[in-house]
Symmetry: C2
Subunit: 337 residues, 2 copies
Amino acid sequence: MSKRVSLKDIAREIGISTALVSYVLNGREKEKRVAAEMAERIRNVARELNYVPNQVALSLKTGSTRTIGLILADIANPFFGQLARVVEDEASKAGYTVIIGSSDESSHRSAAIIETLVNRQVDGFIIVPAEGSQNQVRGLIDKGIPVVLADRYFPEINTSHVVLSNYEAAFDAVKHLIRNGYKRIGIVAYQSGMIHMRERVRGYREVMEQHKLQKAISISEIRFEHMHKDVDEAMQKAIRQTKADALFFATNSLSISGLYCIKKYGIKVPGELAFLGFDGSESFDFFYSPVTFVEQPIQEMAKESVNLLLGQIQGSSVIHHRQLQHKLIIRESTQLA
Amino acid sequence: MSKRVSLKDIAREIGISTALVSYVLNGREKEKRVAAEMAERIRNVARELNYVPNQVALSLKTGSTRTIGLILADIANPFFGQLARVVEDEASKAGYTVIIGSSDESSHRSAAIIETLVNRQVDGFIIVPAEGSQNQVRGLIDKGIPVVLADRYFPEINTSHVVLSNYEAAFDAVKHLIRNGYKRIGIVAYQSGMIHMRERVRGYREVMEQHKLQKAISISEIRFEHMHKDVDEAMQKAIRQTKADALFFATNSLSISGLYCIKKYGIKVPGELAFLGFDGSESFDFFYSPVTFVEQPIQEMAKESVNLLLGQIQGSSVIHHRQLQHKLIIRESTQLA
DNA sequence: CTGAAAGCGCTTACAG
DNA sequence: CTGAAAGCGCTTACAG
């Protein structure tokens, strides 16, 4: 076990001060007019000794850790996994490291994660905010810590954010169902006050209304912690009571859960029920009736979030609101009724 | 933007030294026999001022960052996403934060990630090692940095590791195919010298041999960077030339890629070809012929890796080799021939 | 061209 | 019971 070597070790080896070593190793030798031979010698010794700068010391000195915190609902969910991957890649290009935390949509968990990451002096946050976490976000802003919200945001808080154009996406998706002849269309969404859910439900409502389809045939409010059970009940009700002929699922996880139900009850898609999902998933491809879905530009969302955050970290105080466009991937599960 | 408050601020406020504040806030007031009223006063001021300890300073002082590095192939792959999630949860219970890096199975990327995390003084690593990364692992060991390998390991390096019992898993899976009457069985695996692949192929070979099934009917060696193309060619060859009646896929990603091919070419499962996958996936459930697969105990793998790593970080130098048991989930895709 | 020194925010052995 | 001081490994303004 070789002990770590520090600037001091190099300085002592050559018999100079740590200042010189620091200058040279940071490429400031010209500016500081260090003798060329000395610079060369310093670099050689650093190499021989296998010198690796201690980021922790640097961070304490400079106040910047070159680390960003990424808080999302659940890293095991492929939607967030893909988002995290792009964030990781983009951040790393800029020399930043990412620390990920999963909130499970709980504001308590989210608070705990934010606290430990603030202790660790991350330079900024990209947050997929959980319901009820307004004060956590405000707290960061008050402390002057850069933060960008992704996927959703709080209208009452003035932060940069990058989200899908949720209203339009839902409107467009349901319009497609209507055009294809479906009339008794329901939406399966989370019981949530968060803007992305509200906007998706609003898009559904308004297009239904515009087409005089009795506004809301059926709006299911699923509880995050009881997703499978609630989806199951909602689907049974939609089919038996409401006689829905099409269902629009407002997220990735809800869509998958819905597919399991359809399989369980042997419902015919699209014959008995048209199915419109969200986010995309390999399962949508392998389901016997390939699933039509609203595709989100995950890559763009992640890149844009990182860009905005790095901008803030570099001192920009401009607030940006980005709305990204969806793409409707049309397949068999919503064929003409 | 409120400036961060430090121990010094609290000390100055009360007019005492930082030592006292440090003692009290670390719960060492009894031991250090600090006056009860003074302790109370310190705690009050700390609360009023919203004091948050600076982890970076603490880390520099103590040499421990309470952070662990997790290097895996790709966080966007659900297998690794799930692994990461459990690692995150377990680490956080112990007060540790996790930094994740995706290597894409490239030793170059892996080297870069390890270097930056060593700079950042992580306390230890959990690594799903990429091919050719032996020296990186050895480097960590030489530096005395705790490391646990997961999912695979290097037989020539004496590290703790926790992996699936790969030979047995493959043996068992292929035996199941043989029992169900399949004879011309092929395996689709990555072209890789890594132990987990070699063991899976070995399990396949030996059970074929034991049953006098011409050893290896067909072994496809897929290149990681050209997975879809190579799988496509391998499947065409297996079916046309080799006349395979069953295929065993050695990983999660290979299985999914194989399913896409089957869909593309309209192959009947299990009629024309029996299908045996790895790791599990929602797609296995939704494929028209539910897929039989080798299930890995991801939860256990993650927990055990964290436990072993924390043990090492706390000073244990015992090397542990854990082999976990698989479970064969039998369904329609491998029904009696 | 080069060095001594202060300081980032903590902890802790030592002294009183 | 309490404080002064050193030190973790860096950077950098200042002096020479």
